[in-house]
């Protein structure tokens, strides 16, 4: 089992690195660095400006930490074929899954430590010692995440346990514990988290865990779902072979469709518009980034930062739309259409331009509702400039590098 885990892990890491290299290409890293720097700067300015801490700050931080705690699911790296080939080894397979659980703790652990570090300035505002406070907060988060992953693991086993011993109640409890820790000292949160963790290990794991009761099908289904989520994310940046994009009918969007006239000159526009509206990834992403962007901009009071962020959001959306351009590269019938090849590129450019301009305009709704006229103006202007630059200059450059339909 140990060997099996090691081979699986090595193979998994190899594919992940391959995809991560494609995700974090030079452009994207640059964008992330700027975003990260801007966020850090805004955060530090915000902390400096805070003399009298608001009452809602502690619940808000506890909520943010709880949400971060929810990230990271149990990665079993199991495969559907395991249910057939490893069935006789079910009991021994628990050893494999324990290793998998420990590995799953790695990434959330890093997140927990970073979150604790980011909370330190706020702890100082409340008069908590930064060193002990930060360390104990990190420990509390790690212990809670450890417990969360145990719960996710025993979900796949027939362990007799009360209904409240599940993920959601745990996260609710985590919120309460963290809140208490922020009001007093995070050390208290750490002690309670330790008690919960040990209690679970002694009471549930030691006496009620039956390794033979593994639900193989549930396990591989959960892992398939997790990998699908991961690949869907990668698919935003690069082509993931074998991943079929889901499709939703979204009939309520049909009133938008007549925007493209039904003539030969609009063949590709007809297709791309429907692709954008109905393939699962694109529209959802556009709306999500729009909402997040509008909310973020409504909170910002520096005009140049707002302009920078608006441009960044437009760039991000534009970049995420790129894979749609190649969505039909495998489509034989599309390659036979008697329409000039230039029409396809023009149609995609046109669609991207329109989507980005609408996006940039709608972004300003956030600051407008907050009553920040100057912010809305600068964000809107920056967003529009980037939208036009992206569709008019960057897109043709990108599309020139890779033909839309392979020869």
């Amino acid at each position: 089992m140990r060997k099996l885990w090691q081979t699986r892990l090595r193979r998994h890491q190899k594919t992940q690195f391959k995809y991560l290299r494609l995700v974090f290409n030079d452009h994207f890293v640059l964008v992330l660095l700027i975003l990260f720097g801007a966020l850090l700067y805004a955060y530090s300015q915000w902390i400096k400006a805070m003399i009298i801490p608001a009452w809602w700050l502690r619940p808000a931080l506890a909520a943010v930490l709880t949400v971060l705690l929810g990230f990271g699911s149990f990665a079993s790296l199991s495969e559907p074929a395991d249910a057939t080939f490893l069935l006789p080894q079910t009991t021994a397979f628990a050893g494999y899954l324990f290793k998998a659980r420990r590995y799953s703790l790695l990434l959330p652990g890093v997140v927990a430590v970073l979150a604790a570090a980011a909370s330190v300035p706020l702890l100082q505002v409340w008069g908590i010692d930064p060193l002990t406070g930060g360390l104990t907060l990190a420990a509390a988060l790690l212990l809670l995440k450890d417990l969360d992953l145990w719960l996710q693991l025993i979900d796949h086993y027939g362990v007799p346990r009360p209904a409240w011993l599940a993920r959601l109640p745990l996260l609710a409890a985590a919120f309460a514990v963290l809140l208490l820790g922020l009001f007093t000292h995070p050390a208290f949160a750490m002690v309670i988290a330790l008690a919960l963790n040990l209690g679970f290990r002694w009471v549930v794991l030691a006496s009620r865990f039956e390794p033979a009761t593994l639900d193989w099908r549930g396990l591989s289904a959960a892992e398939a779902k997790r990998m699908d989520r991961l690949y869907r994310f990668y698919n935003l940046f690069t082509d993931v072979p074998g991943l079929s994009a889901g499709v939703h009918r979204r009939k309520w969007l049909d009133p938008v469709l007549p925007l493209v006239r039904k003539t030969t000159a609009h063949t590709w526009a007809y297709l791309y518009l429907r692709g954008f509206l109905r393939q699962t990834t694109y529209l959802g992403l556009w709306v999500r980034l729009l909402v997040v962007g509008a909310v973020v901009l409504s909170l910002i009071s520096t005009w140049w930062l707002a302009a920078l962020l608006a441009a960044l959001f437009v760039y991000l959306v534009g970049f995420q739309l790129l894979p749609l351009a190649f969505a039909y590269s495998e489509m034989v019938m599309a390659r036979l259409y008697p329409v000039p090849a230039s029409q396809q590129r023009a149609a995609f450019q046109h669609l991207t331009g329109a989507l980005l301009v609408i996006f940039a305009v709608l972004l300003t709704v956030g600051p407008l509702l907050a009553g920040h006229w100057l912010i809305a103006l600068s964000a809107g202007a920056a967003g529009l400039i980037l939208a036009i630059a992206f569709a008019g200059w960057y897109l043709p450059y990108r599309l020139k590098k890779k033909p839309l339909l392979p020869a």
């Binding site: 039904k262 030969t264 297709l271 109905r278 019938m333 008697p338 000039p340």
Partner: protein, 243 residues
């Protein structure tokens, strides 16, 4: 409309699959493209429709190659692929609409043609469904409707009968005859020899990437020195037994 292949050699990358093919599909004829698995039927078709470019030789429709007049060349061809290819996010109605747009068809006339075919194939009540989720036979019917509602001059049908129910096979053969009567040409690759014998005027027999024989049934019988009643099946067996 005349399709002419002259000394066509081609394949995938450096791999040569078809060698020095010569044959024509004349105006108003149905030509059967016959050969074993791997003889090069689908590769030949891919070269004709322009998915692959010949390494040597020329393929012309009424004297023009794809490179000379890409849009006109493509306009002349309607193609039914071996495996149905459909857009996952388009409804049946939109598939037909898109085809009409791409080929610049008059929407009213094309819909009139399409509707009668859809009725025949019992698809007329599924216009707002996603055909990508249909069964294999129903998908094939969608491809057939999309191809036969155009007014192409050359119909290229790759292995059209697999997955179709017997009724649909009849309906397809009727469509082929109707297009032939209207003056179009049809190139059809198939393994169903009895059907091919019944519907095709001429045959092109492919063997390991080369043309072994061409002509109508009588010419083929003479070529293989078989009696005057020999079926296409017998001719085919005679070809496979040759060294």
């Amino acid at each position: 409309m005349t399709l002419t292949l002259a000394h066509v050699t081609g394949g995938y990358g450096s791999l040569q699959v078809i060698k020095d093919l010569n044959f024509t599909v004349a105006d108003g004829t149905v030509v059967g493209l016959i050969g074993l698995n791997g003889a090069g039927k689908s590769t030949t078709i891919k070269h004709i429709i322009g998915l692959l470019t010949p390494q040597k030789g020329t393929i012309t429709i009424d004297g023009h190659t794809l490179a000379e007049d890409p849009d006109g060349y493509r306009q002349a061809i309607a193609y039914v692929p071996e495996t149905p290819v459909l857009y996952s996010e388009l409804t049946l109605r939109e598939h037909l609409e898109l085809t009409m747009m791409a080929y610049g068809l008059d929407q009213d006339q094309a819909w009139a043609r399409a509707t009668s075919m859809l009725k025949k194939f019992r698809l007329d009540n599924k216009l707002d469904w996603f055909p990508a989720k249909f069964s294999k036979g129903m998908k094939q019917k969608v491809m057939i409707v999309a191809a036969f509602m155009t007014d192409a001059k050359l119909y290229i049908i790759d292995e059209p009968f697999t997955g179709l129910d017997p009724l649909a096979v009849h309906d397809l053969l009727d469509l082929v005859q109707a297009k032939k009567a209207a003056g179009a040409s049809v190139l059809m690759s198939t393994h169903i020899l009895a059907t091919a014998q019944q519907v095709a005027d001429d045959f092109v027999l492919l063997k390991s990437g080369t043309v072994r024989a061409t002509g109508d049934l009588a010419a083929l019988r003479q070529d293989f020195q078989l009696e005057a009643t020999a079926s296409l099946d017998a001719i085919y067996m005679a070809m496979t037994e040759e060294q």
